[in-house]
């Protein structure tokens, strides 16, 4: 049996070398430094270029939605799901691109709402807005 510090050093070294190799050869790893959207995200620019039916979903708390939101967005957050999903199901049709947003990059509810719509309601085209409401506000203030 190897001495513990030797094994720990080996683990740290192996992980660091593999991570560096990933950074060198895997473009997805280099995206970490580019503020690139994740595979389940879309940018505001791409959303604006989308031709076809588009449904914005606001996953922030109801009070924040009431204060302000993206035009035509529907509220749908995990806390008020049962009350709010009815309107979403009424508006949604097959082929509609759904884009979910919450406050910013550091909020989790948009990802959870998008996942639930995909897997429990079989929505076929759901993305998360990269940067969320903060990105929209920033774009509007320019």
């Amino acid at each position: 049996m190897a001495r513990l510090p030797h094994s720990w050093f080996g683990l740290l070294l192996a992980a660091t070398l593999l991570a560096l190799a990933a950074f060198a050869f895997d473009p997805r790893a280099r995206d970490l430094l580019r503020d690139a959207p994740a595979t389940d995200e879309t940018t505001l620019a791409a959303a604006r270029e989308h031709r076809g039916p588009l449904l914005w979903i606001d996953a922030r708390p109801a009070a924040d939605f009431a204060h302000d939101h993206i035009p035509d967005a529907l509220p749908l957050n995990p806390d008020d799901w049962e009350a709010q999903i009815v309107d979403v199901l009424t508006r949604w049709q097959p082929g509609t691109r759904v884009i979910v947003y919450c406050d910013d990059r550091a909020c989790g509810s948009s990802r959870a709402v998008a996942d639930k719509l995909r897997h429990e309601y079989q929505f076929d085209d759901v993305a998360i807005l990269h940067g969320g409401w903060a990105a929209w506000r920033k774009a509007m203030s320019r």
Partner: protein, 149 residues
Amino acid sequence: MSTLATILRLALAGVFLAAAVVKIADPVKFHAALLTYRMLPDLVAAGLALWLPWFELCTGVAILWPRHSRAALWVVVALNVVFLAAIGQAAFRELDIVCGCFGRPASVRGAGYLPYLARDLAFLAAAVWLLRREPPAAVPPQPPPPRGE
């Protein structure tokens, strides 16, 4: 080694390998999940999103490698203490986080934190049990120093 110990060892290794593969496949998504904990600056979180999955992968392999298994189990203990602290602070601050653990996201808040805390406690308990059950190999006795001539 008992059957239970073998099963636990395989399960821990499987959990770490599965968690690692999902994160390596989409490091940007894992980075987004890390940001929801609001603990680290963006650049540090990006570095962690790149490195931690590979560390989990190496740990998963080492758990199954008898020569390094004990060290890997200590890493499992340390990592789960860190994960518990991260989820605990998020629960205390009532943050809206995505676990970032195994790919499928779940918005975690309120009582939703409990399953995640319970799961990490179970991994921690399994690793501690395995460490206690298999004490470190005894150091072979040193031969007595030669007597003076």
